[in-house]
């Protein structure tokens, strides 16, 4: 899995490419914890090029969301494929994260 990082004013955009599974989620966890530690509060995660997510990936997102809650920050998700969104729905995670169909709208939601 590849993670691309892009700073847009007060928002940090993370673009994920590939698969977020048990073998790749430690890399994602390291990244998300390090940007939060570095003071980022407004995260947009772009799922356009992400084909797959399992509970290991959901756990990392939940961990990030909980960390950000205490500093008044949040994680917003953009451009999920239908089958990826379905995993959030089944897990009951759709109530935790705001979802957007376009990255620009996800970024604007922080204004």
């Amino acid at each position: 899995m590849e993670i691309k990082e892009n700073k847009k004013d007060a928002v940090l955009l993370l673009e994920l490419k590939g698969r977020l599974d048990a073998s790749t989620s430690p890399k994602f966890q390291k990244k998300i914890l390090s940007v939060i530690e570095g003071g980022e509060k407004n995260l947009v995660i772009d799922f356009s090029d992400l084909d797959y997510i399992s509970s290991a990936g959901l756990r990392v997102l939940l961990l990030g969301a909980k960390k950000l809650q205490s500093v008044d920050g949040k994680i917003v998700l953009a451009c999920l494929a239908d089958h990826v969104k379905e995993v959030f729905d089944i897990a009951g995670f759709s109530v935790i994260f705001p979802f957007y169909d376009a990255t620009e709208d996800a970024i604007k939601s922080f204004e």
Binding site: S23, S55, A56
Partner: protein, 141 residues
């Protein structure tokens, strides 16, 4: 006649990547819809990562055998491991009354697997866990 493929994985989490590669080519070679392969991949990852993380008390290498069988719009999968006895069909569903943020994260993978698969059966035989999964390929309209 059924199309059969066997995959033998080590109890190392990096094997999840190899599993997904094998499933992807199995799907392509046999024209199985991508969504079906996605569901099977997710269910297998959840069940096998449980075995890798919690199934072994020693630090030895163990093998987990996965057998795929495709026939008559149905995929049957058997996962066989020599880890501690564990029947995932006995794990209760997540408590919907507790906010999802506060729920025990442990049962989540099993819940995903159960939802995406049509049938899950378990037996313990010769000190092995044998888990059988069945996925019906939905017919296209």
């Amino acid at each position: 006649m059924a199309i059969v493929q066997k995959i033998v994985l080590k109890n190392n989490i990096s094997e999840i990547e190899r599993l997904s590669n094998v499933l992807e080519s199995f799907g392509k070679e046999n024209d199985i819809p991508q969504k079906t392969i996605f569901s099977i991949n997710l269910a297998l990852e959840e069940m096998i990562s449980n075995v890798i993380y919690y199934g072994y008390k020693d630090f030895e290498e163990h093998l987990i055998a996965v057998l795929l069988s495709y026939e008559d719009d149905e995929i049957n999968i058997t996962i066989e491991d020599d880890g501690s006895e564990f029947d995932p069909t006995k794990v209760s569903e997540p408590n919907k009354d507790i906010p999802v943020e506060e729920r025990q994260i442990g049962g989540l993978g099993i819940h995903l697997a159960r939802t995406l698969i049509d049938e899950m059966k378990y037996k313990r035989e010769n000190k092995k866990n044998i888990l059988m999964l069945r996925k019906v390929i939905p017919s296209l309209c």
